[in-house]
Symmetry: C2
């Protein structure tokens, strides 16, 4: 049998500012037959997530970044098409970290087998509500935010993969939930589908007044995904002993310099001090001990209809770059996923 022809997206240049088409390249190469102990994976779904912007920067971030010439990283749902590995056999569906490509040969490290009949939810949810974004919402809200009955929880990127789950879990804990999103349609969707009590469009001129009115008792938890003026407005409304889980700051990922004067850092520190705020950055991979509890809870919530989700699925690896750019501009609603190849 011949080697398989693989299409993959590599990093052509570290983006300066907003990632351009020329920062990526779609190339063909061959993937060999798996040797002893290896499996050949075919990518079914590729997850696109805001954190990827950090991984292609040259600045310090969570993990070693993607170097120029390397395949773009990313979580995938893949099918085993050939196996020389005792734990896997052709046809198995696995959660992998194969990146932006159609095939990968791997030694099996880091793979997780998914339930073959994958329950009532499509297998792509392993990249969303049942996967990394869902668990990010879960540990960020519950372990750092620690919501109490009656508290007000504000969530930025409320229509997104993480934010939509944060709001729904907060509601299950009897909190008042206020979302923030970037279009009227997203705000409406967030209220109608995800059950937020209110949702404010941060592009409205009177955003700050609207948010203040939507939180008459102040904010107890602000789940931070965006940075920028949304963060500035939200932290100024925090109550004493408020908590700010810092999950992302998508509005700043493409900045090439710091904003103009004045320096507002002392204002933030004064709020932290006088209101005894907790501000804590986190990454879901540091919270692996919570995986089984999360999976069990989320599975129950999905079955009982207590948590809803939305996927924003685009077909074809050739559309990954444009879709990723759209994600950074906030054009998606729900979990952004590339359908790389058809399920069998």
């Amino acid at each position: 049998m011949n080697d398989v022809t693989n299409r993959r997206v590599i990093l052509a240049a570290h983006p300066v500012g907003f990632p351009q088409n020329t920062d990526f390249e779609l190339i063909e190469s061959s993937v060999p037959e798996p040797s002893d102990g290896e499996v050949l994976l075919k990518t079914l779904y590729l997850s696109l997530d805001p954190y990827m912007r950090g991984r292609i920067s040259q600045a310090r971030s969570y993990a070693a970044g993607v170097e120029v010439g390397q395949t773009m990283v990313g979580g995938t749902v893949s099918r085993v098409t050939a196996s020389q590995h005792p734990k896997y056999q052709a046809g198995d569906i696995v959660l992998s970290y194969s990146g932006w490509q159609e095939y990968e040969v791997t030694n099996g490290q880091g793979l997780h087998k998914l339930d073959p009949d994958h329950g009532p939810n499509p297998i792509s949810t392993a990249l969303g509500v049942m996967g990394m974004p869902g668990m990010t919402a879960y540990v960020g809200l519950l372990d750092i935010g620690r919501p109490q009955t009656g508290e007000t929880v504000v969530v930025s990127s409320a229509a997104g993969a993480v934010g939509s789950v944060v709001g729904q879990i907060a509601k299950l804990h009897d909190c008042q939930t206020v979302g923030i999103a970037g279009t009227t349609e997203k705000c409406q969707y967030t209220i109608d589908e995800f059950g937020f009590d209110a949702c404010i469009n941060y592009k409205d001129d009177d955003f700050s007044e609207q948010l203040s009115r939507a939180c008459p008792n102040g904010i107890d938890i602000y789940f931070e995904n965006v940075g920028g003026k949304v963060f500035d407005t939200a932290y100024n409304l925090m109550n004493d002993s408020g908590r700010i889980p810092v999950c992302g700051m998508i509005s700043r990922y493409n900045d090439t310099s710091l904003p103009e004067a004045p320096d507002t850092l002392p204002r933030l520190m004064r709020a932290i001090l006088t209101r005894r705020l907790l501000v804590q950055g986190f990454i879901v991979t540091d919270h692996g001990t919570r995986l089984s509890t999360f999976s069990s809870d989320m599975s129950d919530w999905l079955k009982s209809g207590k948590i809803r989700y939305r996927e924003d699925i685009t077909e074809g690896l050739e559309n990954a770059v444009a879709t990723f750019q759209g994600l950074l501009r906030g054009e998606n609603t729900g979990k952004s996923v590339i359908k790389v190849s058809q399920e069998p």
Copy 2:
């Protein structure tokens, strides 16, 4: 018996910027005999602390501020000179919150009787190492900082009432301790008397390089008392999962506007996100449940010589304003206390 003539310092104006002599006034008034259920207190020692700058601002802070015309607030060690209260009798020594004055009539609320032979330590330590500043160090370091063996703990205002105790408790937890102070003499004192492994003068031109060299393994806990460039330098050296208890920001208390460009808030938020930092403001009065554990631990540490302290005592209420101004300029070494009247 006639009313007692009392001298007290009132707030004459809310300071704009650095507090001026004209923002305060020393006046005389009379204090009546205690009625039924009241006690007459004579102030022996008055505590001066950086937080008082916040209480005389018009900006939002922990608590209702001091209004113009009101007596300056502050913790005191006082002697009961007359009592119509069943719990107290003349001669009792109490911890009180009588403020900047020589006498106070009170209904006894909030008073704590001190041990009449007050152990091996002077009664003034109830305002310092055995009191609010000591407990601030204790809960901030242990409950928020959570020091682990071998970690690096950096403490600003290391020669001060809180910082000196933070460094010593960190040392008892087998941490590497690096202090920051504002003079060569304070730095030397901090090493010689309080046992810090190193202490850096933030006024040195190469402060940032010195701090970096003193922390070859990065910083795990930065105990924040000062704000400004010291904070900026320290947070940029934080390790992943580092903790920053925010206790004060004395360098900013007198600011009347935000600093000039650029806006460094996004840089801080990026550090919090990518390094998963915890930044938490706190005030000791929220941690009252820790009082008995603190008192017992600190008492043991003092007895065994494991914790040392220094008091900076000034005689006479008429010197309170100048001493407070000196405190805000960092001129004290150790706990700043005014000896208001002689012990009997």
